[in-house]
Symmetry: C2
């Protein structure tokens, strides 16, 4: 491995654009397509690093925005970086905080130099520029770090979360008509391109940390194309697709991902940020995506929703009251292997006992990792229909039963 | 082993009344003196059975009162008992619920036949008699079950908790003068004795579950003596001392325990209920106690208090902000062995992340089990001063630094 990251493609599907491979980093390697569980604040909620490893997870995600605010990136640097801080010895990726600065802060101002927002912890004014974002991520010391980008404004109108972001945009931009909005989007992409160059220039640890650029452009394929051209003009170890799965339909996600992935360099890992349900992951893999992250398995685990190959089940449902079967027959996760029954897990949720969320988070993360194992097998054996037959949930809308 | 339990004494201290031994049950054995972590609702909060075992715990405690209310003892019986329900294959002891009926219920009425109280879950009226309590515990299937007793009224006036109980007593008994109070105490002991006979008679699983009687009497040594005589007139596999550590001073606890333990049959295990700090445990072992349970390690763990040989530390304290040392140097618990530093644990608490409580609960339970290991070594090697020298916290009031 020369440089902070190497990517070797092992198999390419003859049926679609999917491929298997291995990414090597300074903290070991991970197989692709890969799913990264989300450990926002240097912990995957309620699950010890040992148990995370037991799910088959080889790389995890932390969030630079949250860790900068608490306990502080300089402090984590003192401790030798986030691997040492949280005792996860495998590869780690940190998200830059560009998305969080927009989606979580009360008040934002943005200018050519950077973003100013209120701390969610103490209300203090925080300034993040591309240079500062890279400094934060250099301090945290993850193996893969993400560019700091201007918040994309091309977003679908669904979901509460989006409404919040739309509100922030309105605060920032005032009410825009359609032309003005398109102009703002172009501005945002161009600024993101300039910021990427500043990120690359500011990056002090190119020998051990791989910087990924982020392609934006919402659901507008022309804008995606423009963004790919801009972002890929900076030679980086990998590229990500951002601004997807913020409320669009599965078909809209699939179309954007398929189009955008095909434009990205083939020899570099492609990372689809924040996606998603099993169906979205499989569709994106077929489009040539190599890396995924999502909070679904742990968040839904805490909310008593367990993933199975036949769809999610809601463990508070009275029909599980006397059901002592495990979450999924034949499942080799810690929770199922130890025989913890649905009725017991239901009892834990009904009794507000934290062990319920812990055990189901472990199962859910293992569920996604099992999907990735099958995806990799389907690619190397050119048997996509076998994959689809083993995962009935792929043909469902992800409703909970 | 003939019967549900056998107790073999291995070593007796020449310095005091302490002894080491082994208790065998239908679900395996445990060494004594033993510490039982508390898993009230069939879970030790946040800790998987595997990790409980990793602390050195060989027997755990569940609560019949809580499990009767939810998910219900009949349901647990259907699943093959509480061992199978919660996937703890080692010995389990269930508390009868007599104490909880009094300390937790809104409204109580008591008569010669039993206790009526309001469910803490749905406010419904619950009736528990000695027969019903044994039926519940037969359904749960723990290896050791406890007699259902009339709530002792001789209590020290400290602590909020006590105030609640005193209030309940006032509701029940009206305002009593000293004579009337003493009379009520005598009544309560005599009723407890009659109830113990009913418990013993109702017990349907004498081949696999060992019923322990409970000696009451508060801090009045005459009443303790009377209670011992009554309770021990029923030939049982073991006896417990109840009504201690409900707010008395350490010296008062020590005096009552020393006096009462000396009256109990030597060849049966002696269990001191709900005690306590390290200092209280060591003093009670010296008086001849074999078994302990306490919520302190897990409750304090969730509240960011970590036990060390030098006393408790409060991890929210700013002085741990940059302290990457483990909770206790040389500690072999899961948390310390994996190198989780104080600053990281503090970060988890400050960020409201459940992993903090999980990791410190594990450490704290291991701390108590390490104390028991050293206690057993001190007894078998007749070296009590070695024990005292290794545990500076024994000479402190249990304040937190």
């Amino acid at each position: 491995m020369s440089g902070p990251l190497s990517f070797t493609i092992h198999n390419k599907s003859s049926e679609n654009a999917a491929r298997t491979g291995v990414v090597e980093t300074c903290h070991g390697s991970f197989q692709t397509p890969a799913f990264m569980p989300v450990g926002t604040k240097a912990t995957i909620k309620g699950v010890t690093p040992d148990l995370i490893a037991s799910t088959g997870s080889e790389i995890i995600l932390n969030n630079a925005y949250h860790l900068m605010l608490r306990p502080g990136d300089e402090m984590i640097a003192k401790f030798g970086g986030v691997h040492e801080f949280m005792k996860w010895s495998g590869p780690i990726l940190t998200d830059s905080g560009g998305y969080q600065a927009w989606s979580m802060a009360d008040i934002n101002t943005i200018d050519e130099d950077g973003v100013t927002f209120k701390s969610i912890i103490d209300g203090s004014k925080i300034r993040v520029t591309p240079e500062r974002s890279i400094e934060i991520q250099n301090n945290l010391g993850a193996d893969i770090i993400m560019a700091f980008d201007d918040c994309p404004s091309s977003i679908a109108p669904q979901s509460q979360h989006l409404e919040r972001r739309r509100h922030a945009l309105t605060v920032r931009d005032g009410a825009l008509n359609e032309d003005e909005h398109h102009k703002r989007l172009l501005q945002s992409l161009d600024r993101t391109a300039r910021w990427l160059e500043r990120c690359d220039k500011a990056h002090q640890k190119k020998d051990v940390q791989a910087l990924f650029g982020i392609v934006q452009g919402g659901t507008n394929l022309d804008l995606r194309s423009r963004s790919v051209e801009q972002v890929c003009s900076v030679d980086l170890p990998g590229y990500a697709i951002g601004g997807v799965a913020v409320g669009e339909s599965p078909n809209a996600i699939a179309e954007v991902v398929k189009y955008t992935a095909s434009l990205l360099p083939e020899e570099k890992p492609r990372y689809l940020m924040g996606v998603g349900y099993e169906r979205d992951i499989v569709s994106a893999v077929a489009a040539g995506i190599d890396m995924f992250d999502c909070v679904l398995p742990s968040r839904n685990g805490r909310n008593a929703h367990a993933f199975t190959r036949n769809g999610q089940i809601h463990l508070r449902n009275a029909r599980f009251k006397e059901d002592m079967s495990v979450l999924e027959e034949g499942c080799t996760c810690y929770t199922c292997a130890h025989g913890h029954g649905r009725a017991y897990l239901r009892h834990l949720y009904m009794s507000k006992e934290m062990l319920g969320g812990i055990l189901v988070s472990i199962h859910n993360i293992h569920h996604f990792q099992s999907l990735m194992v099958d995806i990799r097998a389907a690619i190397s054996e050119n048997n996509w229909s076998w994959l689809i037959s083993r995962w009935p949930c792929l043909q469902q809308t992800p409703a909970t039963t």
